[in-house]
């Protein structure tokens, strides 16, 4: 066991240094940032574009009978305010007004045409009162005309400011955070497992694999490569996170970050969510990386690797779809099933961290995933070992001696 770890360390260290201190690693770091930067810029532009005038605030007139009809006719003529709804009184006028305001309507007109009173938040009244005054004047004119020659008289609309009813708070389910977190996890896993596969193929093509196989246990080669690429991935994630935080700070300081472009705070809090993100990424990477390495080792050419990686990638997308189906109902059947299935478990558990604050399921989840990581590595390293030890060709030749 000690020799296995020592040999894995030698191989892992070589792979890590060779990968991270290469020019291509810089390109690798920049690669995923480009779509993210472009996506972010376009999202901000889109959100900024959406932050223009929203739907017109609705004034509700509580009236019935002739007054209701006259108000409706007047509104047709003057078209002020922009949005008017007329409701009959339901009894307790005060309670009805309160309910309407709490429900999101901007102001409520009561008192008929003779003692009109507009109730609402003070800022809403500021810009609605003139329009409502115009409406009431027009309605009184119409009523006077209806009364055959009665001279219309002007009345002022009384204002009654009430404390603005807060809009009902949006329920913080964390579902958006969960989905975003899952997406980031899947994106990173897919990206970095592809790198792992390329690395293995390079090893086969430069014929070093035979030297390694002669010097150290094949399991150590497998483990070293897997862990090296995990370390490389975490290095990449740290770099991307640092760049992301830096960009966020820069944009925030410039006041360019849209106010409503935020995610709910995860149920477990951001620091723990980030820690769990790293753990679940590592778990998903090791689970998937083991499959990639095990199957990739069977391939003898780039073409074969591409052919093999396609179904694995499709499988990954299915796993992602499965895991995301559980978001929103973390204790539902789908979520539980996705938690049990090893390859979707990290994604589902990460989503759970965004939605529910309980921590003990994460301990169980991580233990369950660790068990499957051990199983996957064992099986895949067996495949890897068999492909190395039992094939005459090391570089896709036929039998040679």
């Amino acid at each position: 066991m000690r020799e296995l770890i020592r040999a894995a360390w030698v191989i892992g260290r070589r792979d890590y240094v060779a990968t991270v201190f290469s020019k291509t690693f810089a390109l690798f770091l920049i690669g995923p940032l480009l779509p993210l930067i472009f996506g972010g810029v376009f999202s901000i532009i889109g959100i900024s574009g959406d932050s223009g005038p929203g739907p017109a605030p609705t004034v509700v007139a509580i009236a019935d009978g002739d007054i209701a009809r006259t108000l409706a006719a007047a509104h047709k003529r003057v078209e002020a305010p922009d949005s008017l709804r007329i409701e009959p009184p339901t009894g307790d006028l005060h309670a009805q007004t309160r309910r309407l305001l709490d429900g999101g309507d901007a102001a409520v007109l009561t008192g008929g045409l003779d003692r009109p009173q507009l109730t609402g938040a003070s800022d809403a009244l500021d810009h609605l009162t003139p329009d409502v005054g115009t409406l009431v004047d027009e309605a009184r004119d119409l009523r006077a005309l209806d009364a055959q020659g009665g001279a219309p008289t002007k009345v002022a609309v009384a204002r009654r400011a009430v404390t603005a009813a807060a809009p009902p708070p949006r329920k913080q389910t964390g579902a958006d955070t969960a989905r975003t977190g899952q997406f980031v996890l899947v994106f990173l896993t897919m990206l970095l497992c592809g790198v792992l596969l390329s690395n293995l193929l390079e090893e086969k093509s430069n014929k070093v694999i035979e030297i390694l196989a002669a010097a150290v246990p094949v399991d150590a080669i497998f483990l070293g490569k897997l862990v090296a690429m995990l370390a490389m991935s975490l290095t990449g994630i740290v770099c991307w996170s640092a760049i992301g935080v830096g960009l966020y700070e820069l944009i925030s300081h410039q006041g360019l970050w849209p106010q409503d472009f935020t995610l709910d705070t995860p149920a477990v809090g951001w620091p723990l969510f980030a820690l769990l993100g790293v753990l679940y990424f590592s778990a998903s990477y090791l689970l998937l990386g083991a499959v990639f390495l095990g199957i990739g080792a069977q391939a003898k050419s780039v073409r074969e690797v591409q052919t093999l990686s396609m179904p694995i990638t499709m499988g990954q997308l299915l796993v992602f779809a499965f895991a995301s189906a559980g978001v929103g109902r973390p204790n539902g059947h789908t979520a539980i099933a996705a938690t049990i299935f090893p390859w979707s478990s990290p994604f589902e558990m990460f989503a759970r961290a965004a939605e529910l604050p309980t921590l003990w399921p994460h301990l169980i989840g991580l233990a369950w995933q660790a068990l499957w990581i051990a199983i996957a590595i064992r099986i895949s390293s067996g495949l890897f070992r068999r492909s190395v030890l039992n094939s005459a060709p090391f570089v896709g030749r036929s039998v040679r001696t």
Binding site: A7, V10, S22, K207, E210, I211, A215, L389, A392
Partner: protein
């Protein structure tokens, strides 16, 4: 080319560095190695000779544990789990493999680290080895910037950096020019003189003849001969070459039945009774001996006779076509 004679005095002990009994490797419908027995004494330079496709590399890979065996047993430095002895073994595969972007010094140190050598110690030894082999200036150059010969030397230095007790070299002369082949022969001798056991495969007989104390000739996956170079040569009778002034006469009756005339001279195996009775009969029969020589067959002839006899005439032609000195298949 280094033309020095084989190491005369065997430095071998009775202990075996490599031991194999009935080794078998099967690839689908082809048996690449078919019941091979091998015994390589410690401290010996041992050559595995065979034509292309004979099973040499497969045999070496099985001995090292790179390939699983399908039958038989093997022991490497006393262990039946070859990977456990990896720290004591150096291996140069036929397919040379180095990381192209790795500097020469790091490549050697890495190969040492694989075999348990500390990285700092490996670097120090790599510097020393590179300096001693005229590659001091290439220390920090990535492998991709080195010539093929230099890269091959770097790989060989990586094979010995941890001072192995057993050195297994698969076609080590392949791809090297005459100058580098000579250097490699020298290096192999130096390792042997330092006490290491050398087991190498080749299809170029001249190297084996110069270097090896013992050889095994393998063909069709089987060992056809095992013993010293002298024993291999002794498998063929000595040849007599005779040139006479007379073209006919009673002396011709003294010639053995297998005598054949070729380009004005006679050739035949030395008779069992020795040269003296023949010589007397020729003189008495009036042959007018102009030239008579007894030629001792070389390892090349023995190899062709042994390996060729085993694999058929088509392969004999192939074996004959192997360039003796270049080492390239």
């Amino acid at each position: 080319m280094n033309q020095s004679a084989p190491i005369a005095a065997p430095r071998t002990t009775t202990a075996l560095a490599v031991e194999a009994h009935g080794l078998v490797k099967q690839y689908r419908d082809k048996r690449a190695v078919d019941g091979v027995d091998l015994a390589v004494p410690q401290g010996c330079i041992y050559g595995v000779l065979g034509p292309n496709g004979a099973g040499k590399s497969t045999l070496l890979r099985m001995l090292l544990g790179i390939l699983d065996v399908d039958g038989g047993t093997r022991r490497l430095l006393g262990s039946d789990r070859p990977i456990r002895m990896a720290r004591e073994v150096g291996y140069l595969p036929e397919e040379r493999g180095l990381y192209p972007s790795m500097p020469a010094r790091e490549a050697i140190a890495f190969m040492g680290a694989l075999r348990g050598l500390g990285l700092h110690e490996g670097r120090a030894r790599a510097d020393d080895l590179l300096d001693r082999h005229g590659l001091g200036e290439a220390k920090h150059k990535p492998i991709r910037q080195l010539s093929k010969g230099m890269a091959q030397t770097v790989q060989l230095l990586g094979t010995i950096v941890h001072k192995p007790r057993l050195l297994v070299l698969d076609e080590p002369f392949s791809g090297l020019d005459a100058l580098n082949q000579g250097r490699l022969e020298k290096l192999i001798r130096a390792q042997a003189e330092g006490g290491a056991t050398i087991l190498f495969s080749t299809h170029v007989i001249a190297h084996a003849e110069r270097l090896c104390e013992r050889i095994a000739i393998i063909a069709g996956g089987r060992i056809r001969f095992e013993g010293s170079v002298a024993d291999a040569r002794a498998t063929l009778a000595q040849r007599v070459r005779l040139v006479t002034r007379a073209t006919d006469g009673p002396w011709r009756a003294a010639l053995p039945p297998d005598a054949a005339e070729e380009d004005g001279h006679w050739q035949f195996d030395l008779p069992d009774g020795g040269i003296e009775p023949l010589l007397s009969a020729l003189i008495e029969g009036g042959a007018g001996i102009e030239q008579l020589s007894i030629e001792r067959p070389g390892l090349h002839d023995a190899f062709i006779a042994i390996a060729g006899g085993a694999i058929g005439s088509e392969d004999i032609a192939e074996a004959k076509a192997i360039p003796e000195e270049t080492g390239d298949a």
